[in-house]
């Protein structure tokens, strides 16, 4: 209900015997204030799993999600804050990640961003850069990734992509020319839901580069990386 979106801070009542207020958003920051059961605090902002609250007396401090979880709202219901779970991973919408690996033996790194438009299908855009002894390459491609078993924690996928391949030889090489060509690729890989927002992901991808009418280059890529998802 966007109509109900209010700028007013949400107020919660402490249900546990007491609530400890830390000076910063982390367990290592010291506790300087304690608020007792029955008192009301306003939640101002959230940073990771920590919440900045203000008491009725105007004292401010940070409390952990675990500590504030049991507080109740005006309506008498628990506030209902919880950790990111596997269920959220299964209903994820966006995914961003980066990975490192090898492209035909050359160091390779890439970033990718994806949108999951169907339970089994994700559209992705990837930018990669390979750095070799003689040249460096940039890869840009859009791909569709299909996951046959999205409900598995360890889930294999395959992907098909289309894009551009740019190759820039080192300037010290004689007669080197920069090339830019179309490319297609196919990949087999797997995702593993690690914890919270983290997913580990590994790919084997084969790139086919259409250099000109008579020449096709093929490159193998292996990569391993980490993704973050948003639901």
């Amino acid at each position: 209900m966007p109509v109900c979106a209010e700028d007013v801070n949400i107020e919660v009542q402490i249900a546990e015997p007491y609530l400890e207020l830390h000076t910063g958003p982390g367990r290592g920051y010291p506790v300087t204030q304690v608020v007792e059961r029955g008192e009301w605090v306003a939640i101002i902002v959230r940073r990771t799993d920590w919440f900045k609250v203000r008491t009725n007396q105007g004292k401010e401090g940070w409390v952990s999600r675990a500590a504030i979880e049991t507080t109740v709202t005006e309506a008498g219901a628990p506030i209902g804050l919880r950790d990111v779970l596997f269920e959220d991973y299964r209903s994820r919408r966006f995914e961003v990640g980066f990975a490192g690996g090898l492209l035909e033996g050359d160091s390779y790194m890439m970033v990718h961003a994806g949108y999951r438009f169907h339970e089994n299908l994700t559209g992705e855009f990837t930018v990669g850069q390979a750095t070799g002894d003689f040249s460096s390459s940039m890869l840009y491609y859009a791909s569709v990734l299909s996951e046959p078993f999205p409900e598995w924690r360890f889930s294999p996928f395959f992907s098909l992509g289309l894009g551009r391949f740019q190759n820039t030889p080192k300037s010290t090489l004689v007669g080197a020319i920069e090339t830019e060509s179309n490319m297609a690729n196919a990949a087999l890989g797997a995702r593993f839901y690690l914890t919270r927002r983290f997913v580990v992901r590994g790919d084997y991808r084969r790139h086919v580069v259409f250099v000109d009418e008579n020449r096709i280059n093929e490159y193998n890529e292996v990569s391993l990386g980490i993704s973050l998802f948003f639901y």
């Binding site: 209900m1 109509v3 109900c4 979106a5 209010e6 007013v8 949400i10 000076t23 910063g24 958003p25 982390g26 367990r27 290592g28 920051y29 010291p30 939640i43 101002i44 902002v45 959230r46 940073r47 990771t48 799993d49 920590w50 919440f51 900045k52 709202t73 005006e74 309506a75 008498g76 219901a77 506030i79 209902g80 804050l81 980066f98 490192g100 160091s107 790194m109 970033v111 850069q129 750095t131 002894d133 460096s136 820039t168 080192k170 300037s171 010290t172 919270r196 927002r197 983290f198 980490i226 973050l228």
Partner: protein
């Protein structure tokens, strides 16, 4: 809040009215407010909408020392996402210059110009250690943290790019909760054969930055 509860009530009334209208087939139900009177005052149920500030964007400036090619000013931008209280991921892009003046003075001029542009990018994972506070005077305390960084990226100069590993550490001080000051030390490590033989180059960088949480 007033508007909100009115809309909720209106919706409730409408929903409850609908089957009644259908059954009664009454074209003009007058005084509908009196027909259906909610007996219990509806509680004000609100979904918690808490402002989440897990992203951090900022800029930095400092000195980058490129092995064999002098130390020059560097400046860049940085975006970070705080995944948990311990971990964050960050991306950065920086620009600097390199100079072969020292080599040229010895008669080994390498570059077309004495000073050439350098740019780098990197993606790193950060781990917060040593949380604490910094005290200024008697009445001021700012939260702080030391963090460790490691990541991969690329450094380009003279039309050549070098796969780069970065490792470093930094200190983050927050004067207010949405603003952070960073003092970061980083080593950009890459392999280069620009002086003839292939060798690993360590390129130290010291920067001072500022960022805001959003």
């Amino acid at each position: 809040m007033l508007i909100c509860s009115r809309i909720t009530r209106a919706g409730l009334l409408f929903a409850m009215l609908l089957p009644a209208v259908c059954l009664a087939q009454n074209p003009e139900p007058k005084e509908t407010e009196q027909v259906i009177q909610p007996e219990i005052d509806r509680r004000n149920v609100r979904i918690p909408r808490i402002d989440t500030e897990d992203f951090e964007i900022g800029a930095y400036a400092g000195i980058l020392s490129v092995e064999d090619f002098g130390a020059k000013p560097v400046y860049g931008i940085r975006l970070a996402y705080h995944v948990s209280e311990d971990f964050f991921v960050e991306g950065m892009y920086g620009k600097s210059t390199i100079s072969d003046q020292a080599l040229c003075d010895l008669g080994l001029c390498l570059f077309p110009n004495r000073e050439e542009d350098l740019s780098y990018y990197g993606l790193s994972v950060g781990y917060n250690v040593l949380p604490g506070e910094i005290f200024i005077g008697r009445g001021n305390a700012m939260t702080s943290a030391v963090y460790l960084l490691a990541g991969v990226g690329n450094t380009s100069f003279l039309d050549e790019s070098h796969f780069t590993i970065n490792v470093g550490m930094g200190i983050r001080v927050l004067p207010v909760d949405w603003l952070a000051l960073h003092l970061t030390m980083r080593d950009h490590i890459f392999e280069s054969d620009i002086l003839g033989t292939k060798a690993i180059k360590n390129n130290f960088e010291l920067t001072l930055g500022m960022s805001v949480y959003f």
